[in-house]
């Protein structure tokens, strides 16, 4: 045992150096958020010479212009509802396609595969125009529903189900279980790992999306946190790195916390996509 630890020492050192490089931007972000305006613009030391809470106070007090908590709330709502809808809708569709011999199955599957091959940029601006003409811009509708049109989830779960034996379902059916009971007691537990995968991917996709929300929101109150931070960077008049970093810290923490909690699932879920 001792020998193997000594053997892996060089690689631990290399890994640690890389880890420090990876963490450096985040450390810089946190420390800069505690600097004064002039220090943040002028100094190059990573540590603040005089610590100040001023930037955070200012972020909290300027919520009327930059409602950062509202943005966080919007993001939480959109990602939660969007992810849930996508997973539910796709599970039902995949089940119906893989097991129930739905009429028009071949046509639907054909659309699913075709859609996978066509890049999203093609539908982006027309979709925006549709929502504009429908008067639905600046509502939660375009921020949530278009994500449900993604066919990736149906594809993943359909593939999973057709390669999965039907024995359990058949046994349940013979025992006289209803369709809902089969779905709830047999299919959901079976499909859970793939559904988690899809959930994580969908969550990250919605959370990170920048271009689409920037097209379909107008008011400050409807922005997601990702979009809100962009507003702060681009605000032609925003020249305060310290305050910028304070906002970024607040915006980043929830994401990192969710990430650390879900870490286990994310690791697994990435595996699942890799296989396909």
């Amino acid at each position: 045992m001792k020998r193997s630890t000594r053997k892996s020492l060089p690689i631990i050192i290399v890994a640690t150096i890389i880890a420090i490089l990876f963490l450096l931007p985040l450390v810089w972000m946190v420390f800069t958020s505690f600097k004064t305006l002039s220090e943040s613009m002028a100094s190059s030391n990573i540590l603040p010479s005089a610590w100040t809470m001023e930037n955070y106070v200012s972020v909290f007090s300027s919520v009327s212009e930059a409602p950062i908590f509202r943005w966080l709330f919007n993001t939480a709502l959109i990602t939660a509802v969007g992810t849930f809808l996508v997973v539910m809708i796709d599970v039902l569709a995949a089940y119906s396609l893989a097991r129930l011999n739905v009429p028009g199955k071949k046509v639907i599957l054909g659309m699913v595969f075709a859609a996978l091959a066509i890049p999203g940029i093609v539908t982006l601006f027309p979709a925006f125009y549709m929502f504009k003409e429908a008067g639905l811009l600046d509502t939660y509708v375009p921020l949530i529903l278009p994500y449900t049109a993604s066919t990736m989830g149906v594809f993943l779960m359909y593939n999973f189900l057709i390669s999965f034996p039907k024995d359990l379902e058949e046994a349940a059916y013979i025992d006289g279980a209803s369709q809902w009971q089969i779905l709830y007691h047999v299919i959901f537990p079976t499909i859970k790992p793939v559904a988690m995968t899809l959930g994580v991917i969908t969550f990250l996709g919605i959370y990170n999306d920048f271009l689409w929300p920037s097209l379909v929101t107008n008011s400050n109150d409807m922005k997601t946190i990702t979009l809100g931070i962009a507003t702060l960077i681009q605000g032609a008049n925003f020249v305060n790195p310290a305050k910028m970093m304070a906002s970024t810290v607040i915006a980043t923490i929830p994401g990192i916390v969710v990430f650390l909690i879900a870490n286990k699932y994310i690791v697994k879920s990435v595996t699942n996509t890799g296989i396909k």
Partner: protein
């Protein structure tokens, strides 16, 4: 069955929320029967709070109307895709918005409000008039402004010779201190039009901008010389470099610092926070052959979608309220220089309090307004994003190379001008 219930609940929440926000933006009246007026502008910087003050005061002053104000960085795009009654349009965009049929003549409304042409400074009228009519209400002009650090120069430089003399003095003290910074991107459109104005060059040629003029190439070369020949600016500054170097502390071989910034008045707040009483503000120096100021302007325009007479009456009331000196003074407090004469008088009476507005109002006399062409911003795009940066970052850039670029920019501008709607 728990899952289905959850699904049903979350769906209804979505629809409820969606319903709420869409219905509130569509309805013309609020719950208590007030007529709603929506106003969109791009005041996302420090100035936004001051416009809000005016709007809030108006909403409190009467109970027939309520103005909802949306401040959005990307407000032009949002105006195109949304439903708004009033919009702030920059002086250089007025023609475009007119030709695109997005805004309508505001003069009947301002007549109702009792606002007259003679209420405004000529510089503001030059901007807001299209074909001889006041098409929008001019709010302010924000010209290029000069900030200076009183520790480094007691007097504001007034000519190019002053800038050079100051630079010699500063350089003798420290190699990292210069007179000013020439940025490679950011405010460069202002720089390019300012130098045209200061050399008496007319860029507008029919429906397009014509940059390919020998005289203009000579004028622009001065920015190249400022960096590479006279070296009054450190080389290779990036976005907003003129302001960022002004805010820096010099560090031997590591960071430059400048004594002067020719920049936008909206940076006043940050500069004041850093320098306090050491911050000087003055009109820009004469760099070209004559004294002229250039900058953009805010005007308030009426959306072409507004037809309801009641809404128009409300807008008239709002404008009447805004354009009274006591109220518009808030705008000067926010650092903007109003073109409303009665308000300007108040600004002059309290020069110290309204330092930046006062200094900028002094530039109105020499102000040259942006050329009125269709899609001004798009016609300028190549100049803004490509030509200026080449000009000031390439050490051996020649006039010949510049002319080639100017010709290309002109050709692109011509094609942009050709996209104008045919109905004009």
């Amino acid at each position: 069955m728990r899952l289905t219930k959850f699904l049903a609940i979350s769906l209804s929440v979505v629809l409820l929320l969606a319903g709420c926000s869409s219905s509130s933006s569509d309805s013309e009246k609020t719950a208590d029967g007030k007529i709603k007026i929506s106003f969109i502008n791009g005041f996302t910087g420090g100035d936004g709070a001051y416009m809000k003050k005016i709007t809030d005061a108006f909403n409190e002053s009467q109970d027939k109307y309520v103005v909802t104000e949306l401040q959005e960085k990307d407000h032009y795009t949002k105006f195109k895709s949304g439903n708004y009654d009033l919009v702030v349009v920059h002086g250089n965009n007025l023609e475009t918005y007119n030709q695109d049929g997005l805004i309508q003549d505001i003069s009947p409304v301002i007549k109702k409000a009792g606002i007259k042409e003679s209420d405004f400074h000529q510089a503001g009228l030059d901007i807001a008039k299209l074909d001889g009519d006041m098409f929008a209400v001019p709010l302010d002009i924000h010209p290029l402004t000069m900030f200076y650090n009183k520790d480094l120069t007691a007097e504001a430089p007034k000519t190019y010779e002053d800038l050079k003399a100051l630079n010699t003095k500063l350089q003798s003290q420290s190699k990292d201190t210069y007179t000013l910074g020439v940025p490679s991107s950011g405010l460069v459109e202002f720089y390019m039009l300012m130098i045209a104005a200061q050399n008496g060059i007319e860029l507008k040629d029919g429906k397009q901008l014509n940059f390919a003029q020998e005289k203009y190439a000579d004028a622009l070369m001065q920015f190249h010389d400022m960096v590479w020949k006279d070296k009054v600016s450190p080389p290779k500054l990036g976005l907003d470099g003129e302001f960022q170097t002004f805010m820096k502390e010099a560090k031997e071989g590591k960071a430059y610092k400048t004594a002067v910034a020719i920049t936008g008045p909206w940076f006043y707040g940050a500069a004041k926070e850093k320098y306090g009483d050491k911050l000087g503000v003055a009109p820009i120096p004469q760099i070209g052959s004559e004294l002229a100021a250039y900058g953009n302007a805010h005007t308030i325009a009426l959306s072409s979608k507004v037809e309801d007479e009641k809404v128009k009456e409300g807008i008239a009331e709002y404008l009447k309220f805004m354009f009274t000196p006591e109220n518009l003074l808030n705008w000067a407090d926010g650092g903007q220089a109003p073109v409303h004469l009665a308000t300007l008088e108040k600004v002059e009476a309290e020069q110290e309090k309204y330092q930046i507005a006062f200094q900028n109002a002094k530039q109105f006399e020499n102000y040259v307004s942006p050329p009125q062409v269709y899609q001004f911003g798009e016609q300028m795009r190549y100049m803004n994003e490509s030509v200026f940066s080449k000009l000031v970052t390439t050490e051996n850039f020649t006039k010949k190379e510049l002319m080639k670029e100017l010709k290309k920019a002109t050709k692109l501008a011509e094609q942009v001008a050709a996209t104008a709607p045919q109905n004009e």
